[in-house]
Symmetry: C2
Subunit: 216 residues, 2 copies
């Protein structure tokens, strides 16, 4: 797949060998997470808010209540940063200094666009649901017109984008390799546990296959 | 434990029943994660960068290379936002609209202070290591003077702080409870897998107990 063009703002300066600008890496990181952290300013104070997202092609969608300050602020087209981070493991070196974390992250800079066209808005909502749990959308009650009105959807173009990836074991100073210290990686993984049925249920259909096989 | 005083900027306006300002909740969320997302501005553009942190009392420490743009920017005392998020589960409602996520998050607003006093700096570095893996610090080679110089440590006071927590099952519209749709929570958990010893090892001490029993 093709590459995003690094700009002065997205080119990774520190540890550039960790940088990736190709769509395959960027899409892979975005599509295997579902929570992003959105950065924006109100009166010069930065705010960082966790939220869900969906993606199709080079467009990332975020959504929320029409009453949310974040969505009202971003609807104005102010500069935004969206960051998605996977933590893959703890890197244990022989010195405190060389401890590290294995991670994959994507940083998107840009300006949000308010999605007003009903078909695009509904498709974005479908993407959110399917992004989190593939197969869910067709199973549930679709949004009413009132629910659509109460929801704000924003589109953020994937234009100024960079990914940063650290993987592998520790890199110690030569002299430290002879220290009698356990070194290596403690891999971390997010796993889904047994689904908990709603205590308020009246009907009780079985757990759907798309949940049984869910992996994050 | 006592409460943080909500300010105009940290008082949760949307879904205020999810808000918490007590130290017990805030400390609990901060102490059970180790990656935060730091928001700051460069030329009016917000940036959100994932990084590690440590905490003692009402001080949060972040650190990194003295060459990092984030740390150079924040050393100037500009406004910063630090957000820590745990994702605890997917909340599956009977309607697309009422789908949600169970999460615990803390948002800290403030200004960073450059830590220059050597004893505080070293103690902050100890906190980082111990925060990620309790028991590790005494096992590894301590930082040299040169390593300390190459590391910037910033302190961010816990003053303007709020936590937001969503837990429990889906809340559906009354009419939707009769739909034949599986509803409930898919719990998510970050787990540590089998430690992977460094391929470059020369000595091979056994996996230490603090890793065997590691839980995140």
């Amino acid at each position: 797949m093709s590459e995003f063009e690094p700009t002065e703002r997205t080119r990774v300066k520190r540890l550039p060998k960790r940088a990736h600008y190709d769509r395959e890496t960027v899409y892979g990181i975005l599509d295997s997470a579902f929570v992003c952290h959105v950065g924006f300013n109100v009166d010069g104070q930065p705010y960082v808010i966790p939220t869900n997202y969906g993606r199709t092609g080079d467009t990332l969608y975020v959504h929320g209540s029409a009453a949310s300050r974040m969505l009202k602020t971003l609807s104005g087209g102010v500069p935004v940063c969206v960051t998605v981070t996977h933590v893959d493991g703890l890197v244990l070196a022989r010195s405190a200094f060389h401890h590290s974390v294995n991670y994959r992250s994507v940083i998107i800079l840009g300006n949000a666009r308010l999605v007003e066209e009903p078909a695009e808005k509904l498709e974005a909502l479908r993407l959110f649901t399917e992004h989190v749990i593939k197969g869910r959308w067709d199973d549930v009650r679709q949004p009413t017109e009132q629910e659509l009105k109460a929801t704000t959807v924003l589109a953020i173009p994937l234009e100024e984008v960079s990914a940063k990836v650290r993987s592998g074991g520790p890199l110690d100073d030569e002299a430290d390799y002879s220290l009698l210290v356990w070194a290596g990686v403690l891999p971390l993984e997010t796993v889904a546990k047994e689904p908990l049925p709603d205590a308020l249920r009246k009907n009780d259909p079985p757990v759907p296959d798309y949940l049984k096989n869910h992996r994050r």
